[in-house]
Amino acid sequence: MSQRIPVVELSSRDLKRNARQALGDSQLRGNMRSAMDSLMAKRLASMPDEYEREHLREMGNHVRARALSKLPELLERLEANLTRNGVKVHWAETVDEANTIVLAIAQAHQARQVIKGKSMVSEEMEMNHFLEGHGIEALESDMGEYIIQLDHEKPTHIIMPAIHKNARQVGSLFRDTLGIDYTEDVDTLIQTGRRVLREKFFAADIGVSGVNFAVAETGTLLLVENEGNGRMSTGVPPVHIAVTGIEKVVENLRDVVPLLSLLTRSALGQGITTYVNMISGPRRADELDGPQEVHLVLLDNGRSQAFADGELRQTLNCIRCGACMNHCPVYTRIGGQAYGTVYPGPIGKIISPHLMGLENTPDHPSASSLCGACGEVCPVKIPIPALLRRLREENIKKPDDPHRVMRGQGSKYSATERLVWQGWRLLNTSPLLYRLFGFFATRLRSLTPNIGPWAQNHAAPKPAARSLHELAKQHLEGK
């Protein structure tokens, strides 16, 4: 019987409920706090020169913005160059279409086993679950992804999927699922994972990976990783399927130089990852290894909706480094799973509403103190706090507002709330009403209602006996 580690229910998308539950989990909070403190320190240590850091962020922003400003052209160029290199390119508007494409490739090769390198887009697609439903085993090979797959969980962080677990928890999990002796020794645990997964790489019919950058100029798929599982997944099986979002394309090969440097330093504080793997085609006739077929699936899944609005388009600058979550006070306290979305944390709060609709993520834009840390560390300068405010506006639009921006807009619209704010505005813009309100609020201060939740941690609010206006007036009149 596997010992379940207390985490929030995966099926729940109720952020508020999940957050409440997560806040009570001291193990989770301890694991997250120490991990995020360390990641923040490492990032800063790898970017000590403020001039270089800030100018490179500006450049990263320009490179991504330029790519988006000619996205359709670059996607066509990418497809043409990949096709010339022997890679088959597929397009999918929805996750269902993407899964169908992957399944068709798998079935054409009578595939039974799929080994996966890390791919957040495949998480969007819930590819593992889908393939298993068709009798195909899909196994994660990134150590963190493998750990959470064994425990039937979802990633808690886009770079470090199992960061919420400590070695004791992984030791128990491996003992219960893999039948090894319990150990907390991280080296032993990793060597166990290596041994099990090597057999899977060896036997797999298909390797699946994500893509960090797709280079239009050369038709190159660039993957960064430390473990080597990405190279194994894309190099050992006879077929490689890469899945990625349509926004991941960059124009030129040189454009990856600043983005790569920003990505690895922002994510892990590393100047570079152990492997930077640039794939520009399947095995050629005279080569002795590498996949016989390489496929790229380009997925939209709500991205074109974000793209349609000039402001919201900036969401698609993201290079998935995770720095925003590492620096987020909300994320650090509730962990990634509480969000109930594939992408957690600040970036998750601005991308998920496009992927899933605001009706399914109604609380996400509000789950922020707007402290601004995410925007300050973003390597491509996505103004995350501004986009959160924008989504809050979209969230409370009248449902019949003719200006359609996104799926599920107006999900939090409340006629009562709107009326209250309209009343508040009137009160504050009419001098007569404002003075009357001030007069009665001070005279009747003993009747001030108690605001329960606020008063738990603060002094209960109570108006002063006289308003500042009145006091000043008295003072000036010499009374």
Binding site: L39, E52, H55, M59, A65, R66, S69, K70, L71, P72, E73, L75, N85, W91, E93, E97, M143, I147, M160, P161, A162, I163, A167, I190, G193, R194, L197, F202, E217, G219, T220, E227, G228, R231, M232, V236, N252, L253, R254, D255, V257, P258, S261, G271, I272, T273, T274, Y275, V276, N277, M278, I279, S280, E287, L288, D289, G290, S304, F307, R313
Partner: protein
């Protein structure tokens, strides 16, 4: 309409009336902070690579086979995967020629399908060349070829790589420019900056995740 046509139509419609942003790529920003005096390149590379558990050795064009022999003995490696048709492979084969105590030198000379089990289970080490290295990040440059295929530097638990000291570049941008990468990429190009590693459990660094557990770089000072 196809998915492709739909997606492109939506994107084009969203961009209607806008101009593509100009390319203001700042070459200085990605190269100037990462320049080194010639005599600093190898020390910096070694420092960065050793910080992530790479073993590096300074040697010469004439001496490296003997050094490699010593390392194989020390590490108790009885066989080595080489590319006999490359200059390095030929030089090493010649070094061991006619010796009864020579390690078993294997060649990656047939498609992986024909010897996959042996590659995975009975090939403890490999030797490849490099296309140089990058001082800024401590990275080796590998372009797998027919002679040195992709899996040669990945599957064996120990990877020996030969690097000419004269081919250590300052930074990745310079490599792309001088080697004219944009003009034609191979099916697979790699930057390798250490042995395989992971920090996925509690951020504790562990080496030998899925790729080589040991990366040993032989730097030829006179080459």
């Amino acid at each position: 309409m196809s998915a492709k046509a739909n997606i492109l139509a939506k994107l084009r419609n969203s961009l209607a009336g806008t101009q593509p942003l100009v390319d203001d790529f700042d070459e200085a920003l990605v190269s100037e902070p990462w320049r080194y005096a010639p005599e600093q390149r190898v020390p910096r590379l070694r420092q960065l690579m050793e910080a992530v558990h790479t073993e590096t050795h300074l040697t010469t064009l004439a001496d490296w086979p003997a050094l490699l022999e010593r390392l194989l003995t020390e590490k108790q490696l009885g066989s080595l995967l080489i590319a006999p048709s490359t200059p390095w492979g030929a030089q090493l084969a010649e070094h061991f020629a006619g010796r009864s105590d020579a390690p078993h030198l294997k060649a990656y000379d047939r498609p992986v399908e024909e010897w996959k089990a042996e590659l995975f289970n009975d090939t403890p080490a490999s030797l490849t060349g490099t296309l140089g290295a990058i001082a800024a990040t401590g990275s080796l440059i590998l372009w797998p070829t027919r002679e040195e295929p992709r899996l040669m530097s990945l599957v064996p638990p120990v990877h020996f790589a030969i690097l000419k000291a004269s081919e250590v570049y300052d930074n990745f941008y310079e490599v792309q420019q001088q080697q004219q990468w944009a003009g034609g990429m191979p099916t697979n190009a790699l930057l390798v900056s250490g042995p395989s590693k992971t920090a996925d459990i509690e951020q504790v660094l562990a080496y030998g995740a899925h790729g080589p557990k040991d990366l040993i770089v032989l730097i030829l000072e006179d080459a």
